[in-house]
Symmetry: C2
Subunit: 430 residues, 2 copies
């Protein structure tokens, strides 16, 4: 769906001021200048030449959290940190018996990350709450702004909130050098009392998340707002290829069991199989290690990865089955052995169709165009879908660049997204 | 050339002892039992479950050198360490005016190496000298048993002896953690006086080296002795592939600049191009690194390697030219950029045809079969070819396994090789 209205006074070529249709909804508007200034101030935390360094649990992540909590207090939210280390900023509703509408995102970054991923949604949520406070707009449902901890290493904060954080998760160590368990304690949570952070299914009215698209669809189509149909499922496998390491000078070409050659065929097979059928599925080999790893030794072992994403779990399974079959054929051809170990299996998480409608209406009310799309990236919203209906709002990423210091969402798009978020929250909370 | 005689009394199926032809030459024979016992004793130095750890300059390398020097003294050699850290065991000839016949190998190992690479040639050389001493055989030319230091990191000891060790070489640090410069001092050399270790072209009568084949040609053909035609040249390039790192979930397949995919095509192209023409050339991609290296990020940069070996430098150059051309095509197809930097360029080093004849005759005299073959591996002999005529003798490696704890040369083959070495040394030194 693409629609474009105008909500500005435009100077025509004739030099005459023309009044164009303004937003139809009476929803309040955020302070876009303030929001974009907050984004800029926030971006200074942990910024390096190689990009943003706010890896969860690092000193800069904690500095960023302090910044966010100060902003939340300025928005007159009641700020707490739950046992899992998530930051919660609560605002009472007029009917205390109703479940809360949650909205937010995360502020931790990947190593060498950007200034927008997670941050746009988090600061916009706080700005939305601040706008409601300033304009004294009350909602029937209570509101909770949530900043989930450690999204980038695997949605740790939202996993804890929905009760699926495992012992194995708690032991994982990210680039901060700190385990999730120790990290939670560092953030002011209590890893021994994670049950207290857990919410029951049905206990929330909705969860809403505004996020940058991290792809180029909106930017290239010139569309203002993405209405997310769902978060794709992710199948992730560790792949090991065993050949036989031998001397590169003395082993004839026809007597090699070259794990690197098999890996090369595997990478190409993944690409070919994933592209062979229509749809928006993606398949990626992002990691590789060849042992012993010397230019003069035929690799005897390669460890690599496979990741397949789609909105349809059955499609992921079918693509994986094809890849595994072709890998077996490559192994037979090269005298090598492939083994696959599933490292992660995120099921696709559809968003709630009614919330999609609310988002579309909110955007239309603001004179903004929308397009329905999947989220190829994982988000805390996919966990929150276990607790209640979820919705996600995307804003354009220039050039589709993501997880990079070159990541950029334009100030006008940030403001648009925050206004759609605010309007949707108000609609859902009344 | 394949010949097989028998030099043993054989019990036939009839139970009758049959006298088979014994060696025709009157050359002395080494003490095979003692040599193989030395090999076993030597192998205990630095042995671990993962293989031999006698990386040059490590404590175990130095322990191994002390062991070898003791053996040399038992062989009544005059033992010195030259300024480059090479061990020299000299035996006077009857004519002091004649240039020496040098023979030997190295005793340092790769990490996780085997018990035979270098060691068979080194201990056989000492055993040959010991045999001459015990049997009071005098040669006209002086003899020098040489154990070169740090062969495995790039022929450092022989480079110094021929005067081509560079400042860059001296700064290289191997897995011992010690630079070549500091290592030379540790071994009793003097890195500030390397000129003293240098020999002038024409100053040696010959250099001979016995070595395990490190390939499976002799073992599979059941041939006793390989007569090395030359040491292949090695072209080695560092290859960098630049694409664009992006989010694996949000970047459609047709919008990627995936450096990993280009690397996969490159690895296959190397294999295809090298195998496309007849000959014994080999091409290997042994090292790879993909950045950022996460399963959920499309690699934006791959660093890999290319190594091509052949006895003919022109063939290496032609194969490289083809690989580079195909790489450019891959880059155009994938939106990536390949760059090649030549890291090393070892020219092929042919052995001396007259020495090959002497080796063949020596083997025949011992009733052993021979086959002419290239050395696919580098050896100190390739440097020594700058000083005078060189020859190399190969003995079989079971299964062609090399640079591995599973490396094995059978005791009978070790003894055969040492006897051919001894007979060749005697022939060349008279």
């Amino acid at each position: 769906m693409k629609r474009r209205d105008f909500n500005l006074m435009l100077a025509t070529a004739l030099g005459v001021w023309v009044r164009v249709p303004r937003a139809r909804a009476a929803a309040p508007r955020v302070n876009g200048a303030r929001l974009n200034q907050s984004l800029q101030d926030f971006g200074a935390i942990g910024r390096t030449a190689a990009g943003a360094q706010r890896v969860a649990y690092s000193p800069t992540d904690r500095e960023a959290r302090a910044f966010a909590m100060d902003l939340m207090r300025a928005a007159r939210l009641d700020v707490t940190v739950d046992a899992a280390g998530n930051i919660i900023g609560r605002r009472a509703g007029t009917d205390a018996s109703r479940p809360a509408v949650l909205f937010g995102s995360h502020i931790d970054s990947v190593p060498d990350g950007g200034d927008y991923d997670g941050v746009v949604g988090s600061l916009s949520a706080i700005e939305a709450a601040r706008t409601l406070a300033e304009q004294d707009v009350r909602t029937r449902h209570p509101l909770e702004v949530v900043i989930f901890q450690n999204e980038e290493s695997g949605l740790m904060g939202s996993k804890a909130m929905v009760g699926i954080l495992t012992e194995r998760d708690l032991g994982l160590v990210n680039k901060s050098g700190t385990s999730v368990r120790d990290g939670i304690a560092l953030l002011g949570g209590d890893p021994s009392r994670l049950g207290e952070a857990r919410r029951a299914p049905g206990s929330i009215a909705a969860y809403l998340e505004l996020h940058i698209e991290q792809g180029a669809v909106l930017d290239e189509a010139g569309v203002n707002i993405g209405v997310v149909e769902g978060i794709v499922g992710i199948g992730w496998w560790d792949v090991t290829i065993e050949g036989f390491a031998n001397h590169a000078g003395t082993t004839p070409m026809n007597r090699r069991k070259d794990a690197m050659l098999s890996a090369a065929k595997f990478v190409q097979a993944v690409n070919r199989i994933v592209r062979a059928e229509p749809g928006r599925q993606v398949g990626t080999v992002g990691r590789i290690e060849a042992l012993p790893g010397a230019p003069n030794v035929i690799p005897g072992l390669v460890r690599t990865s496979l990741e397949i994403r789609d909105l349809d779990a059955a499609k992921i399974a079918a693509l994986y089955a094809k890849v595994e079959q072709v890998a077996r054929e490559i192994g037979r051809e090269d005298g090598t052995t492939f083994s696959f170990r599933q490292a992660n299996d995120n099921q696709p998480a559809p968003t709630d169709p009614r919330i999609r409608d609310v988002i579309r209406r909110a955007a239309r009310g603001l004179g903004l165009t929308t397009e329905d799309m999947p989220s190829g990236a994982g988000h805390d919203a996919q966990d929150m879908a276990r607790l209640g209906p979820v919705g996600m709002i995307f804003v354009p990423s220039v050039g589709g660049i993501s997880h990079s210091p070159r990541e950029l969402t334009r100030p006008a798009d940030v403001e648009n997204g925050a206004n759609v978020l605010l309007a949707t929250v108000v609609a859902l909370a009344n």
